[in-house]
């Protein structure tokens, strides 16, 4: 059980340090325009990467399964201006149904 506690404490310290680094380095300074131009695109890049890895990634492989269909249904619903909550519920329902019948 010691390995578990070492991991818990190590991960907690590492995670807190990662999150503290940016605020400590940058402080209250305004970032240069150059940096802002990059940061403005960070959100779409990061969100895309999270969608792709959480939809198609599994244990270091790319897989096409019920998750992809669910997220696809959500995207379609959102494109047709459905409320976000409805789109998400449809995604979960689709994925659950596909899994139930496969």
């Amino acid at each position: 059980m010691t390995a578990l506690w070492v991991a818990i404490i190590g991960v907690t310290i590492a995670s807190a340090a990662i999150k503290a680094t940016g605020p400590l380095l940058v402080g209250g300074k305004e970032l240069p325009d150059k940096a802002n131009a990059v940061i403005a695109l960070l959100a779409p890049a990061l969100l895309t990467a999270l969608v792709v890895t959480e939809t198609f990634g599994e244990d270091g492989h790319l897989v096409l399964d019920a998750r992809a269909v669910g997220v696809g249904v959500a995207a379609l619903a959102l494109a047709f201006r459905a409320p976000v909550l409805l789109a998400v519920v449809l995604a979960a329902l689709t994925t659950a149904l596909l899994r139930a019948f496969s």
Partner: protein, 227 residues
């Protein structure tokens, strides 16, 4: 209107309201983390302490995966660092909008989690500090509460995957992404590059690294800036 702002009001309360749907997803994930850690023989105390002091779904699941697969503490810590390294550029991005001296800023930086950070993004590299902190609070409560319930009710709770709950997060991120994509052609180009990078890198690199590498797509902003 960008993301949740306006629709839910401003400030801490607005952020908390905007994050409620995410908190539901976080709760489901917390329950599955609790169930998983019981199945690994972690007992009751360790998983709950873990969720309280770390509050990081991706890192905690990584530790469970590594230790559960027979790996050691060091491998588990490295996996968690790789997964959470994305919080470094995200922390740099919000840094100018936090308040107080170094210690307080470092503390406020702990409120950076994916959903809150994206909800608080106001475009052009600006962030709403109050909105972000408000958005993180319900997710903290949901994560810890979910873990506690999962740990104690591990026998009763069914498989979270069977209910399709694991697609809640990618579906929510898709919703935030589609808001972002209204930002124009450069935004779309950055998203497409990020998608291509993640697809190519997922089979090649350990989990977490493709997400950080895909953030390099944001460097496209340098071209815009120089032109």
């Amino acid at each position: 209107m960008r993301n949740g702002a306006g629709e839910h009001g401003d400030g801490y309360v607005g952020g908390a309201r905007a994050a409620l749907p995410f908190a539901l997803a976080t709760f489901a994930l917390g329950v599955s983390f609790g169930v998983l850690s019981r199945s690994l023989g972690w007992g009751v105390v360790a998983p709950i302490v873990f969720s309280v002091i770390t509050f990081s779904g991706s890192a905690q699941f990584a530790v469970a995966a590594v230790l559960g697969g027979g790996g050691g503490a060091l491998s588990a810590i490295v996996a968690a660092i790789l997964l959470n390294a994305r919080f470094l550029p995200m922390g740099v991005a919000v840094a100018p909008f936090l308040k107080g001296g170094p210690l307080r800023r470092a503390l406020e930086g702990q409120a950076v989690v994916d959903a809150s950070w994206a909800l608080a993004s106001r475009g052009g590299g600006r962030f709403d500090r109050d909105f972000m902190i408000g958005a993180t609070l319900p997710q903290v409560v949901a994560w810890i509460g979910g873990t506690v319930i999962g740990v104690f009710a591990s026998g009763v709770v069914g498989d979270v995957e069977r209910l399709g709950l694991d697609v809640i997060f990618p579906a929510f991120f898709m919703a935030l992404l589609m808001e972002e994509l209204r930002g124009g052609k450069v935004t779309l180009a950055a998203a497409l590059i990020a998608a291509a990078l993640s697809l190519v890198l997922v089979p090649l690199l350990p989990p977490g690294v493709p997400v950080i590498a895909a953030c390099a797509a944001a460097l496209l902003g340098l071209r815009e800036w120089s032109s």
